[in-house]
Symmetry: C2
Subunit: 412 residues, 2 copies
């Protein structure tokens, strides 16, 4: 089936807003076994009519985002109805919802509310739980392909897409029993993952697979009926038990917070080159205050010694970016905080500060725990400053995850 | 002039990669006084030919990204030459550059290098400083509009765009003396900014202006000849001297690091609800180690007392999210670190932890300095957890910026 996506919005073509609709909808369509063949981005206004007309004969399904709002440049609904020769009628139940939405915010229903309550004849209303304008689905006729008119703002679009658009798409493609699952892996690359998972996964009938490589993380997506997905889950668990971070879209920081909370454990960080990013990432998770009481950025040598008790002789002998210092930072943070686990990180983020012996990207991660030996490992992430911080924190969080699960700490 | 953008890449329509080309190029075109009328995203392969043919009669300038690489699905160059009936010839100087690029990486020149060295007759080569495939510019003929074939990877595309594409575009539109400038403001909204700047700016002849609202930051862009831009600069400086963060694209954290370094001052943070994001943002700036020696996340009350000396009675009497605690955190961090300035932040990031008296989004920021009175202010940012952290750190960094510059600390 040929799927077209039309994104309308002057702010998109002016470059003021990154268009994330394509990437979001592209990913979502996978869950219905569909893919986009053609996406176009156009300003608000009349051009939407011409674009629809051009694409009608070339697509089986057209998804349009934007232009359903209450202002005068939101004319997707009206232009589409005109193009298809459909009357618009006032829908009392849509109006009811909009009235309720406005009432809570002390705003009048007005002309904008009235326009958003108009529905083309034959259209199926897709409820909007997070805004005013409902989505509209016009099933295929001789005149037009399946046509979905959807709101532009992501916080309105995303829930509507998952709750109301995907079920319609699954019905259209006749694959209502097909669902999808996604696994996140840390500590190995896309090609390595594919090499070891592809042979066993390819033996599972009716299973479609796809990969997505992020920084220091690979996602595997499978599409199929429940039985096939369960077989895939068994393969994944058998081949990569230690690298598998989550099977339900949760991030590594969410997993780490949950593992700590389940065990009633506390963690603390002593960060040098990551400059607070470890604490920042962990505290992005709601509930982090139950597992993190304190964390420290110790940039200066003097602070490493004063706060964490790092031996100045070790700094002198091995350099501040060294395994002994990472060990002492982790162990010092453990003692200072009384936590169950502590990570200590020291390295050279760059772009300056490197040397021949220790180039930019050199980093040592120490993991100390109350009931386990301290683990220290050298890593090397020569890249830009922010990516260096991301990679280092990713590896550090993965070490902590593995320790909490009793897994081996080696990458392999 | 009608400008079209065609982005090719199967990974884009599959949703694996967010297409940032539209937003990047949309912004860049402003600097040449142009805007995109139509953008399309298509998979690798034959469809590029059909798409070009469709758009030729409707555009004056077409920019194509992607499909110039060495692999078999990179066929933009070949399809375009075929479509225009142009011969491809081997360009020795292009080949020379590609050979050099591969040699450094110990990779053979091979068939891929040879294909990337082919140039359609009449094309102007746009050098690629960060990869192999050069860009190609085919000036307008009776057959085709101005046509730019550009590489897909951003690290190759961006420098090429700024160094080689923009000058060509300026020549095409005949506005080679026109340049642009951008100002960043913190502490006021887009509509307020526009209301006060629009009247004086609109009196400057031959000046085009545009706004871009980010979270807790507004950017003003002006386009014109040097004289008009200097007049605009004077207006901005006169109307909003305190809100103006930078006039050269630098971020507020870069400005703060520079201001601290210029004065030989140090800063330290005591973060509760921002969980390390203040330190993380500051340490994204290279050179942060010259202005930040230590920083602390003090989530638990006990840690606020033990490390920063916050009075337990103040926590008991006013609650941990309160002005007195923010003050004591800032002053405690100042004493602990011996720094010249310290920020203390306490608040409720949510989604849980709010109450009627102190709902989610409540936050107090304290700023202590060696040579100034401590400033404490209540803020209210009811939003999601990560945006809350961003807004709070943005306001905190702006307070520090204003103090370093001797500006009033009030929003107004």
């Amino acid at each position: 089936m040929r799927v077209d996506l039309i994104n309308t919005g002057t702010e998109l073509v002016l470059g003021r807003t990154v268009n994330t609709h394509l990437s979001y909808i592209g990913e979502q369509l996978f869950h219905a076994g569909l893919r986009i063949q053609h996406q176009v981005c156009i300003p608000d206004g009349d051009v939407i009519g011409r674009t629809l007309e051009e694409r009608f004969p070339r697509a089986d399904i057209i998804l349009v985002t934007g232009g359903l709002g209450p202002t005068s440049d939101d004319i997707t609904r009206e232009l589409t109805a005109k193009l298809l020769g459909l009357d618009l009628h006032f829908d009392a139940s849509v109006a009811e919802n909009i009235r309720g939405y406005y009432a809570v915010r002390n705003r009048p229903f007005g002309e904008g509310g009235r326009r958003q309550s108009m529905v083309p004849e034959g259209a199926i209303v897709l409820p909007n739980g997070y805004g005013t304008a409902p989505g509209l689905y016009l099933p295929r006729t001789e005149r037009n392909p399946h046509l979905f008119l959807l709101p532009g703002p992501p916080r309105e679009l995303y829930p509507m897409f998952e709750d109301h658009v995907l079920p319609q798409l699954r019905a259209i493609v006749g694959r209502s029993k097909v669902t999808s699952r996604e696994w996140k892996f840390c500590g190995l690359g896309e090609s390595e993952l594919a090499e070891h998972l592809e042979p066993p996964l390819s033996k599972i009938p009716q299973l479609e697979i796809g990969y997505c490589a992020k920084i220091m993380e690979v996602h595997l997506r499978c599409l199929g009926e429940e039985k096939a997905l369960e077989e895939a889950e068994a393969v994944v668990q058998r081949v990569y038990p230690y690298h598998l971070v989550s099977d339900d879209l949760r991030s590594i920081e969410e997993i780490v917070v949950e593992l700590l909370a389940d065990r009633g454990h506390w963690v603390s960080f002593a960060e040098s080159c990551t400059g607070g990013m470890l604490a920042h990432r962990l505290t992005n998770v709601s509930g982090a205050s139950a597992v993190l009481a304190e964390s420290h950025v110790t940039y200066a040598n003097e602070v490493k010694t004063r706060l964490l008790g790092v031996d100045p002789v070790a700094i002198e002998d091995h350099g501040v970016v060294s395994a002994p210092v990472a060990r002492q930072m982790a162990e010092g943070a453990l003692t200072l905080s009384g936590a169950d686990h502590a990570l200590g990180v020291t390295g050279i983020a760059g772009p300056t500060g490197g040397s021949d012996a220790k180039p930019v990207g050199t980093v040592f991660i120490g993991l100390a725990s109350k009931r386990a030996e301290t683990h220290v490992e050298p890593c090397f992430y020569p890249t830009d400053r922010e990516t260096f911080k991301w990679r280092t924190t990713q590896r550090a969080l993965d070490l902590l995850r593995r320790r909490l699960l009793g897994y081996p700490l080696d990458e392999a």
